[in-house]
């Protein structure tokens, strides 16, 4: 791909229901959008799951994409952001042979320089962890490469917005009120039908 476009971070808040990931991912597939990274976990709101998805595209496409995602019944809200609108991180793990660290004092310097940390050391291997933006985890990877990285893994992006408004919480509160209203209305019409 020559023109990858802008990297957008799409967040999706949904009910905790089986099959949602598929529903969301096929919306990307149908528009030929590649998912660069994906992370899914329970959100701070009980029973609400949060998806954080990154994809390269343009503004118009991501705008339509998010509308289509939100259209899915079990999706509460979906948003999209450019990097300057969010604080985001990802975690990378690097597994290198311990002997490399013992022989090469330089590795210690690299770890210090990158603000990485060592998670586990055994006779055979050492696991280093780096949290940061993808260019930062990538930079550490480049430097450690010469010391024989046996395994390397990077998580999907997690992100929080810089906005002072918590739209999802507000939406859920609003819907709770509307539910009460709907129930009252329903009881009323039902009573009149009887």
């Amino acid at each position: 791909m020559e023109n990858k476009g802008t990297l957008y971070t799409v967040t999706v808040f949904s009910e905790n229901r089986v099959g949602l990931l598929n529903q969301i991912s096929i919306i990307f597939t149908r528009r030929k959008l590649n998912i660069e990274s994906l992370s899914v976990s329970p959100s701070s709101i009980k029973g609400v799951h949060k998806f954080t998805i990154t994809t390269y595209t343009d503004h118009e496409t991501v705008d339509k994409l998010v509308k289509q995602i939100e259209k899915r019944i079990d999706v509460l809200k979906s948003f999209y952001y450019t990097d300057d609108e969010i604080v985001y991180q990802e975690v990378a793990l690097y597994k290198v042979p311990t002997v490399q660290l013992l022989d090469e004092r330089n590795v210690e310097t690299i770890i210090r320089k990158h603000n990485a940390r060592i998670l586990e050391v055994t006779r055979e291997y050492t696991v280093i962890e780096k949290t940061g933006h993808d260019n930062e985890t990538e930079a550490l990877f480049e430097e450690l490469k010469q010391y024989d990285i046996r395994q390397f893994v990077r998580s999907g992006r997690v992100a929080v917005t810089k906005s002072p408004e918590e739209y999802v919480t507000m939406y859920i509160e609003e819907r709770a009120k509307q539910k009460e209203e709907a129930e009252k209305q329903w009881t009323k019409t039902n009573a009149s039908n009887l």
Partner: protein, 570 residues
């Protein structure tokens, strides 16, 4: 232990609780328990036994679209589930409320490639509004009411419930059916933002050449009266989409025809000329817009729809009104000024005359062979007010839609979005069952009818009184038309060697006759309509007949072919 019932029984009681009295179904291994319970409820819940599961869905669509009620389908697992996919896609595209219940192997067998197991949820997610697998009978109490709520509200659509066999047999405590009236993550009727109404009213009041485009959403919302009231108060001409044709009477002076590829000349030209396009309950399908970059290029656009994802999907509106068509029109009505647009309306006349002279007249007064248009018009006139048009897909669809006459709401049932050949016959059957008091005129082609011809068995079994008009040109006419116009007349795989349709109909106990010439037509139509029961007319149509006017695919809407060698002069 009386209040303990099986999941199957609970499903039947739920359907009855939801007000369902008719389902379209076909039994099979993984749904036998449900059909077994149905045996005891025959008086309250009748199953129309279709002959193929595709027929079940299309019949339910016809039923839903004529009545506004949710169509219900019950079929088995595996191949039955894959057979309903086309209908689900069709219902999704044409916003039709359906609840489709598929049987499924028992929960313990899921994912084991068991006999007649298929990943129904995975397959149906892209073509449904919602789909859910019921793995325990307890789930049913929650899922069935929710399915009906989701299918029928907002922008309606198909919902699939995949009902595992163990859940069908499992016993649960039953305390009665409770309808769903709220889903947190789904707001079908958002409160209408008054500022958008004010803005739209202001735009309407200031416009010099305004045009209303009414779509299927007006019909779904039941807002036909409100649409006409708004048009009459403001004096704004109305054009419609294919699915919106019966939202206003064909004879209404403000009705200016259909928009789109085979729409009316004046309507399509007006789209280019208008300075305000008020689109309501429509979604700017590419068969409607032609080249999007040229579409309504002189106009500001107001787009009103219940589905906000439609705003800007194709056309960027200058004012988007999110909500249901009926309250939107009601609110607008009080805010728009009375007006007349004599000059603007006058500008339609020349194009209307041109279409009459170049296209409509030759179509309605053919010299030799019968044309599709004259058949459709004569049937419409003979059937009288209130008749319903059901079509298949292709030339038969375009010509019958163009020349039929619409006087009542919900009078056209056609596969607009998906363009499903084979839709027509089962949809017509479903429509008649959904509105037995109405005359259902089903126009099809010799190709389309053969795609679901097995459903003639339903007519035989249930004595469904529909009038079937086969516009038979022994070709796949619309594909042939494109081959004729754009592929150097290389008629690749479009000629059909057809069966004797009269004998075929007779085999199902349906009276039928061939109509070869103009002189026979009127009497044949009269016999068809007078007959108390289904009737087939197999009408010989010249294969050379092409549907005009035509704006070619992807071309600007106002670049119109009047015939093979003649273009509309702008």
């Amino acid at each position: 232990m009386d209040n303990y019932i099986s999941g199957s029984e609970a499903l039947i009681r739920s359907l009855i609780g939801e007000g369902v009295d008719t389902i379209f179904g076909y039994p099979g291994g993984a749904i036998i328990p449900v059909f077994d319970r149905l045996y005891d409820y025959k008086a309250q819940l009748r199953n129309i036994l279709v002959r193929h599961e595709q027929g079940a869905v299309h019949a339910a669509q016809g039923y839903a679209r004529i009545s506004g009620r949710t169509g219900v389908v019950v079929v088995t697992s595996g191949p039955a589930a894959t057979n309903v996919i086309t209908g689900l896609g069709d219902a999704m595209m044409d916003s039709t409320p359906l609840v489709v219940i598929t049987g499924q192997v028992g929960s313990s067998l899921l994912g084991s490639d068991a006999f007649q197991e298929i990943d129904v949820i995975g397959i149906t997610q892209p073509v449904t509004k919602w789909s859910y697998q019921i793995r325990s009978a307890e789930d049913l109490k929650w899922a069935v009411p929710r399915a009906f709520y989701i299918a029928s509200t907002g922008r309606p659509g198909p919902v699939v419930l995949d009902f595992a066999q163990n859940a069908q047999n499992e016993k649960i405590e039953w305390t009665g059916y409770k309808k769903c009236h709220f889903v947190r993550s789904y707001d079908p009727y958002p409160a209408i933002d008054e500022t958008t109404i004010d803005k739209a009213a202001d735009m309407i009041n200031k416009a010099e050449r305004p045009l209303i485009v009414a779509g299927h959403g007006v019909e779904i919302s039941g807002a036909e009266k409100e649409l006409v009231a708004l048009a009459e108060k403001t004096g704004i001409p109305v054009i419609t989409t294919l699915l919106g044709l019966s939202t206003i009477s064909s004879k209404h002076p403000l009705f200016k025809g259909m928009i789109g590829m085979h729409g009316n000349i004046a309507a399509n030209i007006a789209v280019g000329k208008c300075d305000l396009l008020f689109a309501i309950g429509m979604r700017f399908d590419n068969r409607v817009t032609g080249d999007v970059s040229c579409f309504a290029k002189n106009a500001k656009v107001i787009h009103a729809d219940v589905d906000s994802s439609e705003f800007g999907k194709i056309i960027k509106p200058d004012c988007a009104i999110h909500g249901d068509a009926k309250p939107i029109l009601e609110k607008l009505l009080s805010k728009v000024s009375e007006n007349t647009y004599e000059g603007w309306l006058e500008s339609f006349v020349a194009d209307e005359k041109l279409e009459v002279e170049k296209i409509i007249k030759p179509e309605l007064e053919p010299k030799e062979n019968l044309t599709m248009g004259v058949v459709a018009r004569k049937v419409a006139e003979a059937a009288g007010e209130g008749a319903v048009l059901v079509t298949d897909v292709g030339q038969n669809q375009m010509q019958s839609a163009r020349y039929f006459l619409y006087s009542h709401p919900r009078s056209i049932i056609t596969s607009g979005g998906l363009g499903t050949m084979g839709f027509g016959l089962p949809a017509a059957i479903g429509a008649k069952i959904g509105a037995p008091e109405r005359t259902v005129c089903f126009f099809t082609g010799d190709g389309g009818i053969q795609m679901t011809v097995e459903e003639l068995g339903v007519i035989l079994e249930y004595n469904v009184n529909i009038k079937i008009i086969i516009l038979n040109n022994n070709f796949l006419g619309m594909v042939r038309q494109w081959q004729d116009l754009f592929y150097n007349k290389r008629f690749s795989s479009t000629a059909l060697v057809n069966p004797n349709f009269v004998m075929l109909a007779n085999a199902y106990g349906i009276p039928a006759e061939d109509v070869e010439s103009k002189d026979e037509l009127d009497d044949a139509i009269a016999r068809m309509l007078a007959h108390d029961g289904a009737y087939v007319l197999n009408i010989n149509i010249n294969p050379e007949e092409l549907v005009y006017p035509m704006s070619a695919a992807g071309a600007p809407l106002d670049e119109i072919l009047l015939s093979r060698d003649e273009r509309y002069q702008k």
